[in-house]
């Protein structure tokens, strides 16, 4: 399962900041980002996790998702075009285990995670 996301722009981050309630200025205010030594703002990690969540709920009824966990391995820069991927690793005791990744066009993996789904994925 894959989901290719559109380019992350400043508008994407402004909308996500407002909608999520995460107003950390590092994601929306260039002046603050520069004051912390960054060249520019960068995407909220949770935006990537929300995109991967979309991939899950597009393929599985949400009430069957038992758990969903990720580790953020790299910052997602502005203008990135990430691709979310989910792969079944095993089906055991009525549960389907998925490995999840978010990868940028240059091959950088920004997020790795797992999800556990009740039952099997629909054929």
């Amino acid at each position: 399962m894959k989901l290719k996301l559109p380019k992350i722009t400043r508008t994407t981050l402004a909308l996500y900041a407002g909608a999520s309630g995460d107003h950390n200025p590092m994601h929306i205010d260039l002046d603050v980002a520069k004051s912390a030594g960054m060249d520019d703002v960068f995407a909220h990690g949770m935006l990537s996790m929300a995109y991967l969540g979309r991939l899950l709920t597009a393929n599985v009824p949400q009430e069957r998702i038992r758990s969903y966990s990720v580790r953020f391995t790299s910052i997602t820069p502005l203008y990135a075009e990430p691709t979310a991927t989910a792969q079944v690793t095993k089906v055991e005791d009525g549960l389907t285990h998925l490995d999840l990744t978010m990868e940028l066009a240059d091959g950088t993996v920004t997020l790795r995670g797992t999800a556990v789904i009740e039952g099997e994925l629909a054929a």
């Binding site: 909608a19 912390a36 929300a50 979309r54 949400q62 758990s67 990720v70």
Partner: protein
């Protein structure tokens, strides 16, 4: 200043938040979710939901809805928000949650540790989400605090 490990076990003041349809619609728009189940109550009901469903990561957003007089974890520990990175995030789901539900959030600091000689500090917290006495979801969060001074 290093984070005092004494804060392990500290519970943040619990708070209650109402899940609102408008917030869920705005969130769906912001993450590019076009499934009508996430924005249209009739579509949600046709798909077997009581109301608009809370998407998998939105509990993290609701957790930030604490009242203005409740300090956030970052404020409580006097952390410079510019130096915070999100390390890990996990959710465990016990029951579907929908718009119209009233949720109580109970958060506890479960671990504090440092790496690279204090250049990176980690604050780990767990949160229980309760609806009418029922545990409906749990959150697991690890924040990374960069300490540029300690790295020198």
């Amino acid at each position: 200043m290093p984070i005092d490990p004494q804060v392990i076990g500290t519970e943040l003041p619990e708070f209650t938040v109402d899940v609102e349809r408008g917030r869920l619609r705005f969130f769906a728009k912001a993450i590019g979710e076009s499934n009508p189940v996430c924005a249209d109550v009739d579509a949600a009901k046709a798909a077997g939901h009581r109301d608009l469903p809370v998407p998998p990561t939105f509990f993290f957003c609701l957790e930030m809805e604490r009242p203005a007089d409740h300090p956030s974890l970052v404020e409580l520990l006097s952390i410079d928000i510019r130096h915070v990175l999100h390390g890990e995030q996990g959710f465990t789901y016990h029951a579907p949650v929908h718009a119209g539900d009233r949720l109580t959030f109970r958060t506890k600091i479960t671990d504090v540790y440092s790496k690279k000689g204090g250049a990176l500090e980690f604050v780990v917290r767990s949160t229980e989400v309760i609806r009418g006495g029922e545990l409906v979801a749990e959150l697991h969060n690890s924040l990374v605090v960069r300490n540029p001074e300690a790295a020198k």
